[in-house]
């Protein structure tokens, strides 16, 4: 094990896969000389050269289209988009082509493409640079969607994404890049898709945190235990497609209560989808309605005072959790 930052873990995953497979290459804006807007690709240009670490013009839709075309013909492109908001420019190529050419051409081709990008609020970047759109991509059959929250998962999931033959939307979080974590040294370390991580075991309630919110849920769980005697089980799904619903349902069967925490908007969100699945599949296990804590239903504001109340913090998670317990647990608050 080695301690490193989330961005360094991603960098290591890219370097190892570039080393392993000559058909893996990177494309994106300012990823070579500049080292990436968030320095994820720093140093790779010197090591692998400009044929494999390619700076592109600011043409998101066409970059992704180039990725799809090169993936259809044998290469394994890894594309970096500067933020998830910019990926909206590439929705045509991502949905109409990356996700669908295999299906619409009867399985004749595959698209082993990875599109990496950060999302999330917290840096006061306002309404065009800091949204959370995992729900948008979760919606699309044909895509795989990863939302790593730890340095180890960042590395292990990215390596799996690059080796997989399906198009992968790989969603990083802007505020996680500098976080440190333990990462296994083994160059063959990977994290499989479709396997949720249980971050904390508990028997009273299941907290499911999406992307950075897995960490918010973990901190809320510690406070729930300390202040209210509620032992929360915290699940980080790690990938939304495929989704490890089994682990979630097993946990809910044990705890009988569930709160989903996400940074994105409430309508049509990941939580809305998960809540539907849990009540369809685990209705008999539930002692209370499935709770949701989401980002607010507004574009992201610039002002720090407003931005900070636009996405969930521990307090909202605790409040939503206590609401599931009615008076019994509320009483223990004071």
């Amino acid at each position: 094990m080695a301690e490193m930052r989330y961005r360094e873990a991603l960098n290591q995953a890219l370097a190892e896969e570039l080393e392993r497979d000559p058909n893996v290459f990177l494309m994106g804006q300012d990823i070579s000389v500049f080292g990436g807007a968030f320095k994820v690709t720093e140093g790779l240009m010197d090591r692998f050269g400009e044929k494999r670490i390619r700076d592109t013009p600011i043409s998101e839709n066409t970059i992704v289209g180039l990725g799809v075309g090169s993936a259809m013909t044998g290469l394994r492109p890894v594309i970096e988009l500067m933020t998830i908001n910019f990926s909206l420019l590439a929705l045509d190529q991502i949905i109409n082509h990356a996700a669908h050419v295999r299906y619409m051409f009867g399985g004749q081709v595959s698209v082993p493409l990875v599109v990496r990008m950060p999302q999330g609020a917290g840096h006061q970047l306002g309404p065009t640079h800091s949204h959370s759109f995992e729900a948008l991509y979760l919606h699309v059959p044909g895509l795989l969607v990863a939302v790593p929250t730890t340095a180890a998962d960042a590395k292990g999931l990215l390596k799996t994404a690059i080796r997989d033959d399906n198009p992968v939307i790989f969603i990083e979080h802007e505020t996680l890049y500098g976080q440190r974590g333990e990462v296994p040294d083994d160059p063959d370390f990977t994290v499989p898709f479709g396997l949720a991580a249980i971050r904390r075991e508990g028997s009273d309630v299941t907290l499911i945190g999406i992307s950075r919110m897995a960490q918010t849920a973990e901190r809320a769980a510690e406070q729930l235990a300390a202040d209210h005697g509620i032992e929360a089980e915290v699940i980080d799904p790690r990938t939304l497609r495929p989704l490890d619903l089994d682990t979630i349902l097993e946990s809910v069967a044990k705890t009988n209560r569930c709160v989903i925490v996400e940074e994105g908007w409430p309508h049509g969100g990941v939580g809305a989808n998960l809540a539907a699945l849990i009540q369809e599949q685990g209705f008999d296990d539930l002692d209370a309605p499935v709770g949701r804590v989401t980002g607010v239903d507004a574009p992201m504001p610039y002002a720090k005072s407003l931005e900070q109340i636009s996405f969930p913090h521990e307090e909202q998670v605790i409040e939503a959790t206590l609401a599931l317990f009615g008076d019994r647990k509320r009483a223990s608050r004071g």
Binding site: K51, S59, T73, Q93, R102, T160, E280
Partner: protein, 348 residues
């Protein structure tokens, strides 16, 4: 007609056969559409045969060809079996894409026909992606990308031409200027109507060919492909042509006059090329008739093949949404258990 010499007889006859097959296939496809054998939209290439056959003739079998939602002809010219193209129109399992794509989404990997695409302008970045693969792997394969005059107004046109020139990709972009973006005439949709110069600002030189003349299309495309392949310089070719039928079958054609259609039909590429082959003694009227009959028979057989092919089984609905593996075991593992088909559970 331009004043090119006729190519060698066997080549000329092959082109005539290929154009005749496309014409007869498209006529029959239109007829099958009116009998409700074909669903959705049907975009016919009647009148555009020379642009297709001349351009494809400039390619090697290892070169990539990519086209638009009007792409039955391109598949046929690349050598796809007419029966499999017709079966795709009928939505049958023996269709080129197993009935998943339909008229607008033909694809034949074996013949490097890399698809018909339904999003106007959406195929240009993919073409550059094929070019990038050729460049990356260091081989001498080239890519030909056909799209319509309407697509030259899409953002992907400028973005892709810029990138192709910037990265010296071996791609020929061919804008088939059939005078209309659906029902909007060229002068009503493009400020620059001389489309061959539309790439110059991006570093992509232009050429023009008579898309109603198979020899001229072949000659100009061949030179463009040579430049792309040997000089690593993308080229924009404008092929001037005309579609004799509406944009799709459901098109009342209020945007053009009968006189205009009549005027262009005098330049019917099949008739003019056939006439010239007869005039220059390459074939006689009987042989010409035989080529036509051969095409009609091939199309008859294609319809019979498509009719006999079964419809896809409901159980195949989720096939090829994903490449299955240990971690993506099927639809279930990527989605939820709500629907009745639980393929992933069967596989796991």
């Amino acid at each position: 007609m331009t004043d090119h010499q006729l190519p060698p007889s066997e080549m000329s006859l092959e082109w005539l056969r290929s154009m005749t097959l496309i014409r007869r296939f498209e006529e029959r496809a239109g007829e099958q559409y009116t009998r409700a054998k074909v669903g959705g939209f049907l975009h016919l290439a009647i009148g555009e045969e020379a642009t297709i056959v001349g351009a494809v003739a400039a390619l090697r079998p290892t070169d990539y060809m990519i086209a638009t939602y009007r792409s039955h002809g391109q598949a046929l010219a690349r050598g796809s079996e007419p029966g499999r193209v017709m079966a795709e129109l009928f939505g049958r399992v023996d269709g080129l894409c197993r009935g998943r794509g339909g008229s607008m989404h033909m694809f034949d990997l074996e013949r490097r026909f890399m698809g018909g695409f339904g999003i106007v302008g959406g195929n240009l970045p993919l073409a550059a992606g094929f070019g990038l693969t050729s460049d990356y792997l260091g081989n001498d394969e080239a890519t030909l990308c056909q799209f319509g005059d309407g697509a030259s107004n899409q953002g992907t046109f400028g973005e892709t031409l810029n990138l192709a020139a910037l990265w010296s990709l071996p791609v020929v972009f061919m804008v088939t200027n059939n005078q209309f973006g659906m029902g909007t005439s060229l002068e009503r949709h493009s400020a620059q109507t001389n489309l061959q110069i539309k790439g110059e600002g991006f570093g992509v030189p232009g050429m023009q060919c008579d898309g109603m003349d198979v020899i001229d299309t072949w000659a100009v495309t061949s030179e463009a492909i040579r430049i792309a392949r040997e000089e690593r310089q993308p080229v924009l070719v404008e092929a001037l042509n005309y579609r004799f039928r509406g944009h799709s079958i459901a098109d009342p054609e209020d945007y053009r006059t009968e006189e205009e259609v009549l005027e262009w039909s005098k330049r019917d590429p099949l008739v003019t090329f056939g006439d010239r082959l007869v005039a220059e003694g390459v074939l006689n009227d009987e042989q010409r008739e035989a080529i036509d009959l051969e095409a009609i028979e091939a199309v008859d057989a294609a319809v019979a093949f498509a009719d006999a092919s079964p419809e896809p089984e409901p159980s195949s609905l989720y096939d090829d949404v994903y490449v299955l593996s240990d971690q993506v075991r099927g639809w279930y593992s990527a989605d939820h258990r709500g629907a009745s088909l639980q393929k992933g559970e069967e596989l796991s």
